[in-house]
């Protein structure tokens, strides 16, 4: 009796776990058609069910980021050999046996144990399998910024007109032909204007025939100048926490750039990054060289840098709520060699956040952009077996 109670207790525990996770689990569908020869056997059905589950899992990964797919491809055999471990529930949608055509159709929906699946993929990565002493140190500088001013320039246009006149005449008597022309060019800061005026007149006092033809050729060029954009760089404390969590979770030893500044003798300066990114999309050679030197001097192998550009608020066409976009560009440099080299880079990628107010939408967009970009960088590193 006691063991029956024990069994019930265990069962209830299991039930509880299933119940609480059911609402959160992502799902995927898989469908399979099996042609059989004589009669549909239990083995045929079991085999079809497993294939449908594999198809559903493949499909789930096919709809995730490419780096995640790469990681799945590496671990696919191992995962599908233990596929039941990664499936919370399986629901049969179609189970049809067409005896006439000897065709069996099975369609299912599976609820995926995403947490366990992600853990398996993460545990299989090179960095996760490295010993603590082998795990690389990493630091990062990510900057969130918004446009503070933008100076646009009008197009500079140059227009040229060529006129040629051909005349064939057959006359008797006196004739006088006058062609007067004037060409002017006006140059201002934003435009160059050229104009030409041609007057032709023919006076004749004679009987005869005159054919005049005029050909006009126009051409020119337009010069455009890029906008000069100034940015307001905002605090990245929330983003730093997100990036730290993701990189640490992936097994790297992560250090906040601000904490390393003093140890690098001021070579790594987050304020220099912010100042450079205030004026444009590129770091100055000095900032970059100093940062690499400083990070390298502390034996930190990787330096991740990037920008998160917050766009203007508009209305989300789906929800009608306020929407803000964030464009992310990031790269990770390996500074351990004689020269810094990029091991991976992402972007620009656009993310959107929505909310009832612009501020809420902005925060949501930044959170989403930071976590998605961080995850994508980690997936890329895992796919390249970087540790």
């Amino acid at each position: 009796m006691r063991y029956v109670t024990l069994f019930v207790v265990l069962l209830l525990n299991l039930l509880f776990v299933e119940w609480t996770t059911a609402g959160e689990a992502p799902s995927a569908k898989g469908s399979i058609e099996v042609n059989y020869t004589k009669k549909l056997s239990a083995e045929d059905k079991a085999s079809a069910l497993k294939k449908a589950k594999i198809k559903a899992l493949d499909r789930y990964f096919a709809e995730t980021e490419i780096e995640n797919q790469d990681n799945y491809e590496t671990m696919r055999d191992s995962i599908i050999n233990n596929i039941e471990d990664y499936i919370l529930n399986s629901v049969t949608l179609v189970d049809e046996n067409d005896e006439k055509n000897k065709k069996y159709t099975l369609s299912i929906r599976i609820d995926i144990n995403e947490r366990k699946l992600n853990k398996t993929l993460k545990d299989s990565s090179t960095v996760a399998n490295s010993k603590n002493t082998e795990k690389s140190m990493m630091t990062f500088v990510f900057v969130a910024r918004e446009k503070s001013s933008s100076q646009s320039f009008d197009d500079k246009k140059y227009t040229r007109t060529d006129v040629s006149i051909h005349a064939n005449q057959s006359i008797t008597g006196n004739q006088q032909k006058t062609i007067t022309g004037a060409e002017s060019e006006r140059i201002s800061k934003s435009a160059v204007e050229t104009s030409e005026k041609t007057d032709s007149s023919i006076k004749q006092n004679a009987q005869g025939k005159l054919d005049v033809s005029e050909a006009v050729t126009t051409g020119g060029s337009t010069t455009r100048k890029a906008d000069v954009v100034e940015w307001t760089v905002s605090s990245t404390q929330d983003l730093d926490a997100t990036f730290t969590k993701i990189f640490t979770g992936a097994g790297f030893q992560v250090y906040a750039a601000e904490l390393l500044e003093e140890s690098t003798g001021g070579l790594l300066k987050t304020s220099a990054f912010k100042e450079d990114y205030r004026h444009g999309d590129d770091l100055s050679p000095k900032t970059q060289t100093n940062a690499v030197k400083g990070v390298k001097s502390l034996n930190v192998k990787y330096l991740a840098i990037g920008t998160l550009d917050v766009g203007l608020s508009d209305i989300d066409p789906v929800s009608g709520m306020k929407r803000v976009s964030v464009k992310v560009t990031a790269k990770i440099l390996d500074v351990s060699g004689p020269f810094a080299s990029a091991v991976t880079s992402i972007g620009p990628i656009q993310f959107y956040g929505t909310g009832t107010e612009s501020d809420v939408a902005r925060t949501n967009a930044l959170k989403l952009a930071a976590s998605s970009a961080g995850t994508q960088l980690v997936n890329e590193l895992n796919a390249k077996s970087v540790h």
Binding site: R2, W19, T20, N89, V91, T105, S319, G320, T354
Partner: protein, 402 residues
């Protein structure tokens, strides 16, 4: 075998370990089941609100918004709903009203208005008004914001007046369709329909199949004849919501909400008690595609007193499992009703007659899924073989029940 093995350790040190494990599991189970017992059957009322997918609420629901758009009126409606919901007895769940913080597994139900349509037309010397209000008892996960179930409800009111209905008159009628009519002229109201739905619906978080109307095609002739005042999207919405309502109520199953363009976004924005929720609508396991075909009016008989006409509605219903592309039901159903029109009646409201037969057709088809035999199939689909398909659909709908 396992029992034998365990018993063989009865007097050994392992027995102590077993006892300890047993006690530990018992404590853990009690600790886990305490909140479960409280939480598993609790549904939290999220208030009344509007479905606001890409729409301006005040523009899309002008009269409903006038009735409870302001915070004061909203509070008034919520108080009424809370009072009525407090009295209902549903064996599947208990309704709680202290929705505050997000927590794992918390399920919220909202009273969500998703359609308001008022059309008025002049027929002869009279003015006819048709008011449609549709809503949902919408269940969703408070944390993940995933839609778990939706039970559609709808009320319609038709009236004729010698004078045109002005804004205040329309507003008064819509108010009665919300709160009820003291003069008892309007027998139904959307609030009581919601309460009735909450009394009888089944809800559980167990894994089950999901169904929804995913596509509606309105053939041109059908729209211009019967729904000339509605846009194409509004007509599709009307057809989808009415079909979903009959399917849900006749089969006691939840039906995921339909929205034009929703297949792309899979999102539904809902404002409940002043809070905006962007809800995820899961992809359906079974998709219903409806095609409304042109209506027909055929003279049946005629004499000195008047003529008898048959009004016919035709609706093609295709139920598919999209992954395997297996069709469970693919048939065009028809329904005709006779209407006698006296010779003295100059103007005839054909539109109302067509709408009525369409609604009866939807009701009949959804109610007959489990019982349709060959005779029924021959009569309503013109093909006795459709009864086999109806049986297949019946099995599908059983899987969708809570």
């Amino acid at each position: 075998m396992n029992v034998f093995k365990i018993q063989s350790f009865k007097n050994s040190g392992a027995d102590f370990v077993l006892k300890l494990a047993f006690c530990f599991l018992k404590i853990v189970t009690i600790l886990l089941l305490c909140p479960l017992a409280q939480a598993s059957n609790n549904i939290y009322f999220g208030g009344a609100g509007f479905s606001s997918n890409n729409v301006d609420i005040a523009t899309s629901y002008p009269y409903s918004y006038r009735i409870y758009g302001s915070p004061e009126k909203e509070l008034e409606l919520n108080k009424l709903l809370i009072k009525k919901l407090s009295t209902i007895q549903n064996p599947d769940f208990q309704i709680k009203f202290d929705l505050s913080t997000e927590s794992e597994g918390k399920v919220v139900v909202g009273f969500v208005i998703d359609r308001e349509a008022i059309s008025e037309e002049k027929i002869g010397e009279s003015y006819k008004i048709v008011i449609d209000i549709s809503a949902q008892a919408l269940f969703f996960d408070f944390k993940s914001k995933a839609v778990l179930a939706s039970y559609p409800i709808a009320v319609q009111y038709i009236d004729v007046s010698p004078a045109s209905f002005n804004g205040d008159m329309k507003s008064a009628l819509v108010e009665k369709l919300f709160y009820g009519d003291l003069e008892n002229k309007i027998k139904i109201n959307i609030v009581d329909e919601f309460i009735r739905t909450m009394e009888k619906v089944k809800f559980s978080r167990e894994v089950r199949q999901r169904i929804k109307v995913s596509k509606v095609v309105i053939e041109d002739e059908a729209r211009t004849v019967v729904f000339p005042t509605l846009s194409e999207d509004a007509t599709k919405m009307f057809v989808a919501q009415q079909f979903s309502k009959f399917l849900s109520s006749n089969r006691s199953i939840p039906v995921l909400p339909f929205a034009a363009g929703q297949a792309i976004s899979g999102k539904m924005v809902t404002r409940l008690s002043g809070t905006d929720y962007t809800l995820d609508i899961p992809a359906p396991d079974y998709a219903i595609e409806l095609t409304l075909k042109p209506f027909k009016k055929i003279k049946f008989s005629e004499n000195n007193i008047g003529a008898s006409w048959i009004y016919g509605a035709y609706l093609a219903v295709d139920v598919i499992e999209p992954e395997s592309n297996v069709h469970f039901l693919n048939a065009t159903f028809k329904y005709g009703a006779t209407k006698s029109i006296p010779s003295s009646q100059v103007l005839v409201d054909d539109r109302a007659a067509f709408q009525e037969v369409l609604l009866v057709l939807m009701d009949t088809v959804t109610a007959s899924v489990g019982t349709a035999d060959e005779a029924w199939a021959k009569r309503y689909a013109g093909d006795p073989f459709i009864s086999v398909q109806m049986k297949k659909l019946n099995e599908v709908l059983k899987k969708c029940a809570m």
